[in-house]
Amino acid sequence: MNKNSLTIGRSNYLDNNGTLLKALPDSLNKRKFLISLYQTMVLTRLFDETAINLQRTGIIGTYASCRGQEAIGVAIGHAMLADDVFIPYYRDIAAQFQRGVLLEEVLQYWGGDERGSNFSQQANDFPLCVPIATQLCHAVGIAFALKYQSKPNVAVVTCGDGATSKGDFYEALNMAGAMSLPTLFVINNNQWAISVPLERQTASPTLAHKALAAGISAVQVDGNDLLAMYISVSDALEQIRQTGKPLLIEAVTYRLSDHTTADDATRYMSQKALDDAKQKEPLIRFKHFLTEQHSWTDKEDRALYQQCQQQVDTSVEVYKNLPAQQPGEFFDYMYEQLPNSLVEQKQAFLDGLKRHE
């Protein structure tokens, strides 16, 4: 991560098949830990598949799949400290799960219910952010607060490749750089912004290069290589804690799904590109690594999948049985105290409901 090098480093531990390219640090090379990473990946994959099905059957609304990009969230979720603050975008459920967001809360969110962002087990992390790139500015302010409060923590924020074309992306980076704020920016470069391919977004040779405009060091990582991702995020967090300065990671992945369930990627994505990308997807690679290096068995794998599917199924049941919101609840959180005009509007609303009954 040398500021003065334009050759952005690219980090890899696993090849496209999952064969280990170099030795892991001993501290990481622990079977139980590695399986815990894998488990979050599997859980996320199964949740993702289930969520798509729930959308198809009308049980939730539009949903944005993270298929093929799970390693990013897993790495972030496992590498962050509890008191770091996570400012996610909509393909980061792996990290959210790891940080205490409940599966049913994620379903609730995509089910069109604000209560899904009132995380019961996670006080400070931000909810999903719809207007692209705006969350990067929040992260900078959160990093300011952490620094101001002399906490040893980092604000970790993610965005997509399309998001890097927005002014907010650059402003946030530049602000974090100029004010030296403990922020980790992670780009999920999945090659597409809905139907717009990366090469239309920018003439910049990599997205990591963009950090140079803000005087921030950056590295490019194979985002489908869970080991490389985990180590890069861990190292970056460590370095930020030491220097107080922001860093950026470009995680190179591929979107193995429609943009959302409202999209039809066959209109613009070639089957060949998709097939090629599928070869490099993170779950297969990591399983191969576990099998080769930690004698992971098919039986263990099946058991893990079963266990994760059960967890997903349970969350679906919980979600389906959640009570509806109170009628008029959408008035109650507009201000800490409902102003007179809203008291009146809420009353009229409730009266209307009653008349309707």
Binding site: T62, P131, G167, A193, R200, Y268, S341, Q345
Partner: protein, 326 residues
């Protein structure tokens, strides 16, 4: 004649103008290969090429800012903002430049462009995909704000907007994009940009509305008719500049007025219409002017969006209350 839905009518109006005038350019996110997330621009890139229908980077401020530059040099850009909820990064450019370039240069440069954006709720979309903030644009001097409510009006008003020499915010009520077809001649005929449409004549009460709410308002009028209340229904359509005269004439006749809109109540366009009536028409009013509108809350996520959006029932209740007033 063609039987088109609103989204098809929009697509054909765009195609007509692209054919008609080589200076017309469509640009925005996903408008090219993908044909727009609602398919408003479907097939246009294939037909007119990558230089005329352009997939841009994800950058609303610059999509509008560069459209201003294009317009100043003789092109007619038609930028699409994917959802109205994402137009705000571009407000600075719209308010600060698009709306001002002609005045700032005393006519030396001008800004003929049409900013298209789907808006409004009711399609079970995620947060920020369902809001209606036409009032913000109606407040800005120098803009036109146009909202169609049927396939034919979408076609004729969009043609007019593209041919207009000034910047137009063209808001498309996405809830009714595919809500029925209408017979339309693809002849490039423009509708006027300064006239309300009276969709139903009546003598007891004036219902003023626009966009997707025209549907519930017409339904309410039908149900009111069954109760013997004969409502006039006006589709404002050209929100800015506003044709208040048609509304005044109607209220002169009926004496009662209800304004229906999806947007939040406070400082919505309904307030302006009510204020103009209170200024110009007060003697003919037989009852208070009511607004049936969204509440002053964030548009709820979709589980509860139906609670927010004015229903036929709310309109009827307001109308009944108005008729009972004396």
């Amino acid at each position: 004649m063609n039987e088109w839905t609103m989204i098809e009518a929009i697509n054909h109006a765009l195609a007509f103008q692209l054919r008609e005038n080589p200076n017309t350019i469509i640009l925005g996110e996903d408008v090219g290969v993908n044909g727009g997330v609602f398919r408003a621009t479907e097939g246009l890139q294939q037909k007119f090429g990558e230089q005329r229908v352009i997939d841009t980077p994800l950058a609303e401020s610059t999509i509008i800012g560069m459209s201003i530059g294009m317009a100043s040099q003789g092109l007619i850009p038609i930028p699409e903002i994917q959802f109205m909820g994402f137009i705000y990064p571009a407000i600075d450019q719209i308010l600060g430049h698009a709306a001002r370039l002609r005045n700032r240069t005393r006519g030396r440069l001008s800004c003929p462009m049409v900013i298209r954006a789907p808006f409004g709720g009711g399609i079970h979309a995620p947060e920020h995909h369902s809001e209606s903030t036409e009032a913000i644009f109606a407040h800005i001097p120098g803009l036109r704000v146009v909202i169609p409510s049927s396939p034919a009006r979408a076609y004729g008003l969009l043609i007019a907007a593209i041919q207009d020499p000034d910047p137009v915010i063209f808001l498309e009520p996405k809830r009714i994009y595919r809500d029925g077809k209408q017979a339309i001649e693809d002849n490039g005929e423009a509708l006027p940009l300064d006239t309300c449409f009276t969709l139903r004549e009546g003598i007891d009460l004036t219902l003023v509305t626009w966009g997707a709410m025209v549907k519930e308002t017409l339904q309410a009028a039908e149900q009111l008719a069954a109760k013997g209340i004969d409502a006039e229904v006006i589709d404002v359509a050209t929100i800015k500049p506003l044709d208040i005269d048609t509304i005044i004439d109607s209220v002169n006749k009926t004496g009662r007025c209800i304004i229906v809109h999806e947007a939040a109540k406070t400082c919505g366009v309904g307030a302006e219409i009510a204020a103009l009536l209170a200024e110009k028409n007060i003697t003919s009013l037989l009852a208070p002017i009511q607004r049936v509108s969204g509440y002053d809350t964030v548009m709820p996520m979709f589980q509860n969006e139906h609670f927010y959006m004015p229903s036929t029932e709310r309109i009827i209740n307001a109308a009944t209350k108005s008729m009972e007033y004396r």
